[in-house]
Amino acid sequence: MIEFTHVYKSYDKNYILRDLSFNIYKGEFVFITGPSGAGKTTTMKMVIAMEKPTHGQINVFNEDISAIQPKQIPFLRRKIGFVFQDFKLLINRTVFQNVALGLEISGVSGSIITKNVTEILKAVELYQTKDEYPLSLSGGEQQRVAIARALVQNPSVLIADEPTGNLDFETASIIIDILKSFNNKGTTMIIATHDKTLIELGRARVIDITKN
């Protein structure tokens, strides 16, 4: 489903990724690890065409991403949920509006939005803060909003960058459980992390990008 073949990536002639190749299959649960600055975030960004590989080929849903039409990019991104390391929440929209965003841009009607958003907010234990603005949330709460926004669209792939960096062990376990349940329903999960406890908890395949 997601296929990296001999991918190289450089910023200003510094190669961050060299000859990275891996394959992620439909319905898998995969961890991507590596030390700080190894290129985990960069790798994931390339999947949703936020960054282009310097060399090599990336296939997503059996399509070559480097040849994708700019017009097609939004539709690719709607099929892939992404939890950003820095959350990327809109600070002048409430928690509810932030989570609803993904559905709104796909043109889903209002009643369905309300139903789905309410459901997912309850799952990440944030329903009571639905009318708060992101800046009045704790770091861990913001992270959970970002996760909820990615999950609410029921994407076929979910990419999460350090989704539990700001969460204590208990909350992290709850999040992992949610991710697992979505995985069981068929969503492919790709999680970047350096938290060894999380990896142990997840018990899944690990791709260490420094080793490729």
């Binding site: 939004p74 539709f75 991104r77 709607r78 990327k88 002048n92 965003l101 993904g102 841009i105 889903v108």
Partner: protein
């Protein structure tokens, strides 16, 4: 598909209103800047129309004055009576000829006495001097009014030459020089008016361009986030056009109200009386002028949005 389109459209308006609400400060700023620029535009239009109107009043002065030759001045009562009758015959003769010319609207005859009264009425500054002169010394005048659509330099000079060749006519006066100069000036006023309007249009496009670009710059972060989670360009742009459209209309209405208020204050305090003293008669913009500026305002808002948003997509 149609229900989804309606859903989108509904959404676009919702987003536009949300954007306006969430950036009240920026929007009020953009609104006032645009109002300011439209106000200046309207004000120039008003000034221009009034100046042009004033100029036109010269051009509309579509008359020609003929001075008739005085017959010999005899001092007896009987001769005087004869002379008056004789003059009348000559005048009506000439008038009949003139009336046959194409484009002549009205012909009026002033006897010595009438022309004396006319002079006193129209030159109040030297009234005291004229009052001392005997009416008999004043010329007999025929005044010709032309249809305004016939007036052209060639037509007037044609008439002028035909009149000059007639008997009993002393000379013909139609301030040719004045006409020429005023025509030239009107031409330049037209050009300057056009240039100023173009300049204002460009600067108002620039103003709304910058106002909207600044709003976009503030929202750049949001726009990037939206694009990352799969928003199409239309999803981001259309609300922006709606936003700036609403803004332009509001700004225009605001500036029009402002201008109208100022105009009425001006009228209220009778400042126009002082202008009337210089034979300047001020008028407000016609609804057609207002419509033109409205169109220009809307266009500049939309063009501004177009230019400012182009870079980001």
């Amino acid at each position: 598909m149609i229900s989804q389109k309606i859903n989108y459209l509904n959404n676009y308006f919702k987003i536009a209103f949300l954007n306006i609400k969430s950036n009240i400060a920026g929007n009020i700023f953009a609104l006032s800047i645009m109002s300011f620029s439209f106000f200046i535009m309207l004000f120039f239009m008003l000034s221009y129309i009034n100046i042009y109107n004033y100029m036109l009043s010269f051009e509309k002065n579509n008359t020609m004055i003929i001075f008739l030759k005085n017959t010999n001045n005899k001092n007896s009562e009987e001769a005087h009576f004869n002379k008056v009758r004789f003059n009348r015959i000559i005048a009506s003769n000439i008038i009949n000829k003139i009336k046959k010319f194409k484009g002549v609207k009205k012909v009026k005859y002033y006897s010595n006495k009438l022309s004396y009264k006319f002079m006193i009425k129209h030159t109040p500054k030297i009234k005291s001097i004229l009052a001392k002169i005997k009416p008999a010394y004043f010329p007999k005048i025929i005044k010709i009014y032309f249809n305004s659509n016939y007036i052209s330099k060639i037509y007037l000079s044609n008439i002028y030459l035909r009149l000059k060749s007639m008997r009993h006519i002393k000379f013909v006066y139609y301030s040719k020089l004045m006409e020429d100069r005023i025509n030239q000036f009107i031409f330049f006023t037209k050009i300057i008016g056009f240039i100023v309007l173009m300049f204002l249009f460009i600067s108002s496009v620039f103003v709304s361009y910058s106002a909207i670009k600044l709003i976009i710059l503030r929202k750049q972060n949001d726009i990037e986030i939206l694009k990352l989670i799969g928003a199409t360009n239309n999803y981001i742009k259309i609300p922006m056009y709606i936003e700036s459209g609403i803004g332009s209309v509001f700004a225009f209405i605001l500036s029009l109200i402002l201008l109208f208020a100022i105009f009425n204050i001006f009228i209220y305090y009778r400042f126009n009386n002082f202008l009337a003293f210089f034979k300047i008669n001020i008028i407000f913009l016609s609804s057609f002028d207002v419509f033109i500026i409205f169109f220009v305002a809307l266009l500049s808002g939309i063009l501004g949005t177009y230019f400012s948003s182009r870079k980001f997509f």
